[in-house]
């Protein structure tokens, strides 16, 4: 199977896609602050690899400021780390097509997470630069 024919479920379970999908989910379902609709709209319409990199960069910036505001309220949140970012961009390089990654990220955002889990989930919180 060539990389271009990689199954969508394999894209979905990629650690980078999983981490960023999870972050997108938290960013969109943030009830206390304003949800990050801008990143969702940008992600929905991105077509190229360069555009995708730009969208992810903007998303991370917005997400980190969202997390910082949460930290002030003493709620620890999940942030994708450098390894996740590298895995995501490597997958984009391998596939040469953004659509499967875009669909997988949106699918991760659809996953239901009970509110308590969102607030208590902890990571090594290094954060992607």
């Amino acid at each position: 199977m060539s990389n271009n024919e990689l199954q969508l479920s394999a894209v979905f379970t990629n650690p980078g896609v999983r981490a960023f999908g999870q972050a997108l989910r938290y960013a969109l379902r943030d009830d206390d602050q304003s949800p990050d609709y801008a990143s969702l709209v940008e992600l929905e319409y991105v077509e190229t690899k360069q555009g995708f990199a730009e969208v992810i960069k903007k998303f991370l910036r917005r997400y980190k400021s969202q997390v910082n505001r949460r930290d002030k309220d003493k709620k620890v949140s999940f942030v994708p780390n450098q390894t996740d970012l590298e895995a995501l961009m490597q997958l984009a390089d391998e596939l040469g097509d953004i659509r499967p990654i875009r669909a997988a990220l949106i699918a991760h955002a659809l996953v239901y997470t009970p509110k308590k889990q969102t607030e208590t989930e902890t990571t090594d919180n290094q954060g992607a630069k």
Binding site: Q7, L8, S9, L28, L40, R99, R102, H108, A109, L110
Partner: protein, 362 residues
């Protein structure tokens, strides 16, 4: 003993004949086991020997009683799919047709022998003795149309005439095996095409599903929702019975539209069942959860303002590709993040989505 129903290329007509003959054999042999197997060019019906028929068989009178099933079968005659809304003249016309079907079926001793060997069915385009016109509601292909080269003059086109026995069997099968429902102003009829079915199990499953709600936004939503309910029913039987072996191929969908004076065929298609079947075969437990979510989505999508949810899901189920999945996921995500009330409807777990995406084509 094997009985042969040769296919003609009209999928709904062929399936209705097979179901109709199987039901008659079950009646004649006092509800003994009857199975239908799809072999490609014909349906094989494994039923009782003629010696096993009960001495004086009497058909259940409810099979020929005026019902919604008969009204949707003879929609072009009765002009309404509901029996209680029939006008007196239409009611007489429908009852005459049902009596004609009944008379033909009661002569089973004469015609049953011709199904004991495969034989090609003759279909004519003009009326002949021993032939009857196939109603457009039984198969969209039978609607009036130009089937040959025409050089001049105007004509509505000709009807299809089929042997009277096949006509009676198809109408009988249609009345008792087709699920009908409104579909965005049109009237849709749905029939699962069998691969291998035991008639009793099939009838029990249909009876259970007949009372369930269908998302009637369009023909595609009706078909997709029914397909999910049907395969979920098969899944339930599989998990509860170790010997359950019914298999289905696809769903024939036909819609009729009211033209102001009469019902006309609007659309006819085959809805594939491969995708939900793959989900069931892969994981019985997870597929149950997925079907439950989709059932909720179709219910929620039937409410005004949420139509896109059901329409995109139906499109995805009819054609599970990356594009249709993404389209549905976007709509579902937006609806669930903008309204708290919607969150409890159709929420996915990560494992379920992984399973859903496993068979999505790029």
């Amino acid at each position: 003993m094997l009985y042969y129903v040769t296919k003609t290329g009209l999928p709904k007509f062929d399936s209705c004949r097979a179901y109709g003959l199987a039901l008659i054999l079950r009646q004649l042999a006092n509800k003994k086991r009857v199975t239908i197997t799809n072999t490609g060019n014909l349906y094989l019906i494994d039923g009782p020997e003629m010696d096993d028929f009960i001495a004086n068989p009497s058909f259940d009178s409810s099979l020929f009683a005026l019902s919604d099933g008969w009204c949707s079968t003879l929609l072009t005659t009765g002009r309404t799919p509901k029996a209680e809304r029939l006008k007196p003249k239409s009611k007489d016309n429908i009852q005459k047709e049902i009596v004609s079907v009944q008379e033909v079926i009661y002569e089973f001793k004469i015609w049953l022998k011709q199904f004991q060997h495969p034989s090609v069915i003759e279909i004519k385009s003009s009326i002949s003795k021993g032939f009857s016109s196939l109603p457009a509601s039984v198969d969209a292909v039978a609607s009036k149309g130009t089937r040959r080269e025409k050089r001049r003059g105007y004509s509505e086109g000709e009807q299809l005439f089929v042997p009277i026995i096949d006509w009676a069997l198809s109408l009988f099968g249609h009345a008792h095996f087709v699920r009908s429902a409104w579909a965005g102003g049109d009237y849709a009829s749905l029939l699962p095409i069998p691969q291998f079915v035991k008639l009793n199990d099939h009838r029990n499953l249909k009876a259970t599903l007949d009372t369930q709600f269908l998302c009637t936004l369009s023909a595609t939503t009706v078909a997709a929702h029914y397909a999910i309910q049907w395969i979920n029913g098969v899944r339930k039987q599989k998990s509860s019975q170790s010997i359950y072996s019914d298999r289905y191929d696809s769903l024939v969908v036909q819609t009729m539209t009211y033209s102001g004076n009469n019902w006309k065929p609007s659309n006819g298609t085959i809805f594939p069942l491969d995708y939900p079947i793959q989900l069931v075969e892969d994981n019985l437990a997870i597929s149950a959860e997925i079907f439950d979510v989709w059932n909720h989505v179709f219910r929620w999508g039937s409410v005004k303002g949420n139509e896109m949810l059901a329409l995109t899901l139906a499109k995805f189920l009819s054609q599970p590709t990356l594009t249709t999945f993404e389209e549905h996921a976007k709509v579902h995500l937006r609806m669930s993040i903008t309204d708290d009330k919607r969150r409890k409807y159709g929420v996915y777990q990560e494992e379920w989505l992984k399973e859903i995406l496993q068979y999505v084509k790029q």
